[in-house]
Structures are given as structure tokens and as C-alpha cells.
Symmetry: C2
Subunit: 344 residues, 2 copies
Amino acid sequence: MTGNRVTLRDIANRLSLSMPTVSRALADHPDISSATKDRVREVAQALNYIPNYRARYLRAKHSRLIALILPEMNMFFVPSMIAGINRVVQRNDYSLIVFQSDNSIVQERRLVEYCTHLSADGVLLVLSSETADLAHLNILHDCGIPVVLLDRTIETTKYSTVTIDDHGAGREAAIYLIEHGHTRSVGIFGDQRQRISSQRLKGFRRGYTDKRIPVADSQILRVTILSELEEQLESAFAAHADVTAVFAMTDELLVHTHYLLMRRGMRIPDDVSLLAISDGQAPTFLYPNVTHFRHAGVEAGERTASILIGMIEHNSDAMIDVRIRTTLVELGSVATRTPSARKH
Amino acid sequence: MTGNRVTLRDIANRLSLSMPTVSRALADHPDISSATKDRVREVAQALNYIPNYRARYLRAKHSRLIALILPEMNMFFVPSMIAGINRVVQRNDYSLIVFQSDNSIVQERRLVEYCTHLSADGVLLVLSSETADLAHLNILHDCGIPVVLLDRTIETTKYSTVTIDDHGAGREAAIYLIEHGHTRSVGIFGDQRQRISSQRLKGFRRGYTDKRIPVADSQILRVTILSELEEQLESAFAAHADVTAVFAMTDELLVHTHYLLMRRGMRIPDDVSLLAISDGQAPTFLYPNVTHFRHAGVEAGERTASILIGMIEHNSDAMIDVRIRTTLVELGSVATRTPSARKH
DNA sequence: AACGATTACGCAATCGATTACGGCCCCCAG
DNA sequence: CTGGGGGCCGTAATCGATTGCGTAATCGTT
């Protein structure tokens, strides 16, 4: 360690110039002669000058820091989403600060506040499951820090949001199953306090309603804790011997459902068809590959980050709501059943 | 947006006090009377004062920022590692800045430099696959910024490292297979430019050597791109009809190998046994569950972050090398074979 | 020759907070 | 009565960089 860092003053002293001149020289300001610029650059290089962004951004109002607050790390979706966000963020010369709220509203509140301390230029927020309202975001609004809500949100007219078309995906999944002859299926959904879960569930039911096919409540699983899945699935099978298909709302539910079906000795799609909403990774390494409605995490991340940076740079308060549509990827885990060909 | 943020000066003016007094009052300095402290706190609250860390840390030498540079996002290992890092980082009141080098040494170099601009207090680095030496880290050393190399490293005596006991895990995996009667197996390894791949491979071979069982080169797969896996696996099976077990070096290789085995119609573990090194997630949702040598990503992240923060706070240059041992988790994907019971 | 314009740079303030140092007032002891 | 010592607070400098404004020197113009 060479002691303290080289500053503009050091360069200035070395060249008998003033700090402002050195600053302007390094910034390629037109007021400075190119001869001086060259000398400054040379000395800066020689002395190994390292700019102090902390000092620079103290004067500027911005920090070029973007915060991402996640409820939790998850091997599905989150990594690709971060990858997408990071790509856009880095490309625009911002840095991404990642926080975890651990699904706690207290933590989330604390972190939001912390973002103001850090003078983040913008905040990307995936709400914790405990978050019921958005009052704790007022502080960001007061500071003029734009926010984009991502993936897991609640209804709002105040903040921009980027979400999957959850309702649409659920509905299309149902219709896809019905059109392949699966009039009796089991739908597996997550914690209903989360909008993505309730929306996908509503969409799923809607699909059946639209096709005028009844769905019993026992066909709809609401899995709050993963460990409940097995029992709920067994009950559903027990209640409905004529089930020919299973729909899983997320990758996490998918992989565990897939496992349970396999363990049950069920062949996919011969004994039971399997359909999911997924970011497309798990379906390609499960056997057989799983037909799914795909939402690209990378894309979602990129769009979200783009919107946020747009808001930051145009100082815009415009509320943008992006609903990302899913695309069907058919990989053969859903069989076509004719009404007569039902199991047994 | 209410215009500009409330500063210490605003509070000072409101109370006809000086900025330093307000600063000290908020910091609970003994020089300030409790009456004044109360008044200051009250006004700070009322005015919605938000401290500016950027200004605060300009005087202090530190920033309470820790940077993490990753080669890429990956659904396996990385999320749990980040989770572990983040937990420790947040608990110690630091913030985590995440960068992706996209496996490019140019990017990595740029990001390392960027860390100095931001005055990061420490850097956590997972080397890109292109990184062959550590010269680009000198700048960090010059700035007195501690570094801990994580997971994917190269040999160094200059920086602290946290790695899995790759060689040991590979060796134990081999021995485990042998002791279960699998004298002929296929080992699937990653890009040999990476230390973790070469070490695991070496360890695996070593296990066989120790047990005095020959291993043909065609039993060892080196998979640089995932799409090559299928072909290589087929060749291996074609070359060795007596293969009774497959070992996958990582989760990523595991899930795809599992898929290929299933698609081949092979029953696990009846037709072929499957063993892996894994962080323990994938093995529990693949059917059947996969016996593996487990390395906890969360733990690795936590240890790494702890070491880095220790170095930061004790201003220590001590070189620490942590080699995380893997633990065997038996989940039944490896059958016990007696010599006579080999397949056919 | 004198004056306005241009070039190239320095001075001083500023961002918001922290800290070394100094000073006032009051109380108590000598 | 006086001096020493706390208690409590203000002054000024500082962190490193940026920016508005001023200015000396040079140049060109009529």
C-alpha cells in the first residue's frame, strides 16, 4: 500500500497547475490547451491517478448507483433477471447494488431507506411477500428517486411496473390443456398473498370458465410451503381419479411436481401430462422436456432496467406498465387426449 | 419531489445551531446536552432528514461498499453463494455491488479498475475463464483494497482464496464409486482451463489410481460446451459396454446428464448409478434423488465475505486459504454392485 | 494605436458531513 | 475573590472534485 491515493492536487502540484485546470484537462474541456492536456494525462498516468467518484458525485446530484431489492435468492428466474438487469445497468455506466429483504417488510423498509442514504439514482424492487402496501416507498418519491416494481408487485397507479402477463399465461395454460383434451387437471399455485400467484390462478380458472368446463376447488392447489406440495398433490389425485394433466405455476413448483410424479411411477405424458410457466431452463433438463409458457427472465430484467434508466435520465415521472407476454414452447410433455382415450 | 434534500445545515438553521452541533447531536456525542439532542432529533424527524453517506464517506477513508465480480450468472451455486455473501455483508452494514465480467478478462480488468474508482472497501472475485494471471489485481493492492478469490481461482500466494476441496471431492467420488463396485464409470468434467475442473478431474483419477483400478481416457469426458455432452456421453457408452456409473462434476453437468440417461431409457440406479458434486438443490428434485458430495454455496459465500470483512476491519494483509470440504449426501442413486452382478 | 475578442488558466465557492481546536460560561475549591 | 475545570457549543479546516466567474496574455481589427 503506497499510503494515500493520488489526487488531482498531486498532479496539479507536480505540474505547477491548479486543480481546476487538471480536472478540466482530464475531462477534455475545450478551455485547456492540448499541450497542457497531454502533460496532465502523462503525469496522471505516471502517478497512477485514480478518480474518486465519491467526491465527484458529491457535487453532482446523481450517484450512478442503481439498487435492486430482492425478497430472496432463488435458483430460478432471479439469476437470469439479475443477469438482464446487470447487462443494461453496466452498459449505461451505472452500478448495481443488490439487497435481500428476506421476504421481510421490515427489512424491505430498512433497505429502501438505505437507498436514500446512498443516494441511489433509482430503485428496482421485487416486493417481499409481506408487503401489503407501498407507503414505505414515499420516501423515495420524496427524494425524487424513481422506482420500478418488478415481477412480484401489488396493484399501484403510482409506480411503474414490469410484470409477466400472469393472468394471461394462466388462462392460456388452461386453454392449452383443454384443447388437448385435458378437461380434468390439477393446477399448482403458490402463496396466494402474492399477486403473481393469485393472478395465475385466476387466469387458470378463467380459461376453464371460458371453455365452459367446471373446475373443482380440489383441483386447485395453493402451496405456501413447498413441503406441503406432496400431500396436497396426493389429495388431489385421490379426489379425482380422472386427472390427466398437471399444471405448475413456477419452475420451483414444476421441478418438485415433476419429481413427485416420477416417484409416483407416472409416465409423462402417457399417464399424465405436465405443463408449466417457466423461464425455460428447467424444462430442458427434466425428462421428458416440459412444455411451458415461457417468460424470459433476462428480457424482463433488461426491460425493467431500461425503463428505470429512462426515468432517471429524462427525469420522468411517467408511469409505465409493461406486461410481458409469455410464449408457448411445446416440448412434448402434454399428450393429446380424445375424450374416449382417458386413462381407464 | 420536494426539491432538494434536507441537510444538516437546514436543521442547524431551524434551531439556530451550528452544523457541527447538529452532526454531533445526531451522532450522540457526549459534548452535546441531552436537551439539544432531543430538539435536534425532533427537527430532523420533522424535516425528514436523510444523511448523505456519500459526503460522510468522503472524509472517512472507507465506503462500506463491497464489490463482487462474477464471470456469469448461473442458476446453480451462484445464487446461493450470493445469498450467503449478502447475508454477511448486510449484517455488517456493508452494501454489495455486483458486477458481471461475462467471462471476459477485458471486462474483468475494467471492473476491477472501476472498484477503485468507487473506493470499494473490498473485492470478492470469481475469476473469468479467460483470466490466466493476477496482474490486473495489482491496482487493488496498490490502493490497499483487500481481495478474496472465490470458487474459480488460479494458483496464487498473494491473495486469500476460498475454494471447494475440488481435488478431494473428485477423489472421494471415485473411491465411493469403486467401493460400491463401480470399477468402470464415466466421469464428466468441465472446461479444463478452469482450476475447479482440472482439480476435480485429477482427484477423480487419483481415486482410481489409489484403488489401483485403471481408467481409460475415454472414460473421462471434458465438456467445454454443454451441447457436446450428448455426443461425448454416447461415445463413452459405446467404448465401454460395462459402464455401471456416471459421475458429474457440477450441477449443470448433472442435470443434463440425468436428462440424457433418462432419455436413453436407463433406470437409475438399476441400469446405471449416478453421482455428483452439487450444492444440493438439483439432487433433490431429480428422480431419483442423486447421491452427491455436497458443497454449500451459502456457506462458501458466508465464509468468503467474513474473511474479506475481517481483512477490511483489521487492515490485515494475512493470506488465508480456506478449502471447503464436501460432505457426502447419500440419496440412493448409486447402487451397490458385486463384481458378478455387473450389467450383463 | 487602441480596443474587443479569444485563448488558457486560476480563484474561490460548493457539494454535505466530520473533527481538531478554541472559547464562553458557570461552578467550586483554595 | 480568583483560578481551574467541566459542560456545551461554534469556528474553521478538511475530504476530492467540479464549476462560475474573473483575468492576464495574445491576437486581430480598424
